[in-house]
Symmetry: C2
Subunit: 350 residues, 2 copies
């Protein structure tokens, strides 16, 4: 399989290197052949080419079986007046590859309970996954700017809503068959359409599924008050952005959370949900677990290698349980660096 690696900015290169090490090890042990190609994206791409998503990066992504991405952005490229921003590279590649379904699983690991602001008894048994619509909504609507005002248009078509709801429903059929759809239907027209379509798809195509509709503001509470009650949560782009970062606090650290961005096509994009963390870049202390768990999703969703995916997830769980904690998880006590954490995962392969 051909895997395109887009290290990006900040800690991106460090965590993708760790994840590639794990992939190479799995390939050797299980007799797979993975080839790795590297390309530029984000701030690194702006510096080299002036563009956050160079044409040859996109071309390589379209040919690959899967894309592994680190993170983009940093203060160097954050001037509000700047014409090009690293984030545009990320938004553009999601859109160009048609990756409309962004899966963000949250399964708090007991060893991270102490790093979470949430009370441990609420975290026990939490196992939820947010399906965030990723190529529509206010992120991609028309933007205007005049001397004294600005606007962003939020649009959703029936087709855009249908496909992501279906994706969430297919996922739910492999889990508990419960779907929570989140919107703001008491205020937004796009949310009323969202709710109608979600209800229709479930009724007509997935009658076994129990659908609950939640308002986004209530959801921001329930996610904290009773996280165990949720299984598959599906929502639009902006709400998904906010709710998944909030949900990451259940897991104790952003550094543990992987994501998969999928479309109708074969190629998927896999990235930790954390950012480029410029403050700790280059120090060898970044938590690689989220990137490593992202390659587990890559093996499962793009390469169909379920066993290998499970193997990595178990190895990360065991490494954590054995106390291999990076600085974001360790609290006051002694923390290990990126390489030691990566080795711990490999040492714990079942």
């Amino acid at each position: 399989a051909d895997i395109l690696v887009l290290p990006g900015d900040g800690i991106g290169p460090e965590v993708t290197a760790a994840a590639v090490t794990v992939l190479r090890t799995i390939a050797e042990r299980r007799g797979h052949e993975f080839t790795f190609t590297e390309r530029l994206i984000g701030g690194a791409a702006i510096d080299a080419t002036g563009e956050p998503l160079p044409a040859d990066t996109l071309a390589a992504a379209k040919k690959a079986d899967a894309v592994l991405l680190g993170a983009v952005g940093g203060p160097k490229w954050s001037d509000p007046q700047a014409k090009v921003r690293p984030e545009q590279g990320l938004l553009a590649i999601r859109k160009a590859l048609g990756l409309f379904a962004n899966l963000r699983p949250v399964q708090p690991h007991p060893v991270a309970f102490s790093a979470s602001p949430i009370k441990p008894h609420l975290l026990q048994g939490v196992d939820l996954i947010v399906v965030r619509e990723l190529t529509g909504g206010i992120y991609f609507g028309e933007k205007t700017r005049t001397a004294d005002s600005a606007s962003d248009l939020c649009t959703y078509s029936v087709g855009e809503i249908e496909r992501v709801i279906r994706h969430a429903c297919h996922l739910a059929m492999t889990r508990s068959r419960r779907v929570t759809s989140v919107d703001k239907a008491n205020v937004l027209e796009t949310s009323r359409l969202w709710r109608e379509v979600a209800s229709r798809i479930v009724r007509d195509e997935f009658p076994e599924i129990e659908l609950e509709n939640q308002l986004v503001d209530s959801m921001a509470m329930h996610l904290l008050a009773r996280p165990r009650e949720y299984d598959v949560i599906v929502t639009e782009n902006m709400f998904g952005d906010i709710l998944t970062d909030e949900a990451s606090m259940l897991a104790g650290s952003l550094g543990l959370l992987p994501s998969a961005s999928l479309g109708e096509g074969r190629v998927g994009l896999y990235e930790p949900i954390h950012g480029s963390a410029p403050d700790i870049a280059g120090k060898g202390i970044a938590n690689p677990y989220a990137a490593i768990l992202s390659v587990a999703l890559l093996l499962r969703h793009s390469l169909g290698l379920d066993d290998e995916a499970n193997c990595i997830e178990q190895a990360v769980a065991s490494a954590l349980a054995a106390g291999n904690l990076t600085a974001d998880l360790a609290g006051g006590t002694s923390a290990i660096g990126t390489q030691a954490a990566t080795r711990a995962v490999i040492d714990h392969f079942p």
Copy 2:
């Protein structure tokens, strides 16, 4: 002073009755003259008149010194196909009275630490206030609907941003002189304008204030991970809606959180941030503390009666500390009802 009471739907009538009882008691004890007028809003108004904000309700609000509102909405009026919805009454009165600044203070009370999903050591000393822009953004932009798509427009003018940032800054000058402005400037044009205006207003008009800009997704995390670090948080309408419901979890229950909606004019609107809770309506068990704390804000912001406002806030704190807990706060142990909680507040007037 003339106070307009809009009980609304669900538990609205119960909690506003409690709050009015407290106001009457304060008036007697301190020799003030308050007159109370009642009008319809929300579902109750739709049932009686067909409209969620009847003209005579709005006229009464414009003549009043302050408006006390309960809550609007309920399953009875939630048909997605409905042409009129209770929430429209709330949105319309906010807009018609020009109430652009919605203040939502969060000061977790120790007695509610156990009801909060957040770890107690993080809650100690939290004292923040969210200033939510309330009459602009995607709530009030043009909406469209066709057979196969829908849209909502998010617009902000420079003037709309300036006035709410100034409001937050004036408030911050009476507190710790720190303001956190929340946006999504890496994606939205309205957010880039928001950030520019916030930076300019602080630089030119409030040089003593320390301004921090945060992305909304990061803020959804930081609010949980280090709530003590925040003081005045200012943000646009939709982000404020989500973040304040999230922040309510710091206080253990929505039932403790008041709000004040203010504009350039004199009249302000005061409401608990909880909803109409139709499931417990009419049972006499609704938590009245949020409504009672809302009248403290009313006394302070619309009537200039700081002493009286402090008196109510202290009385609520003492009543809570003495163990007068409604069902939302009591956990398994015995809970008191709306009237007993109201009496407890009055008994604890300093």
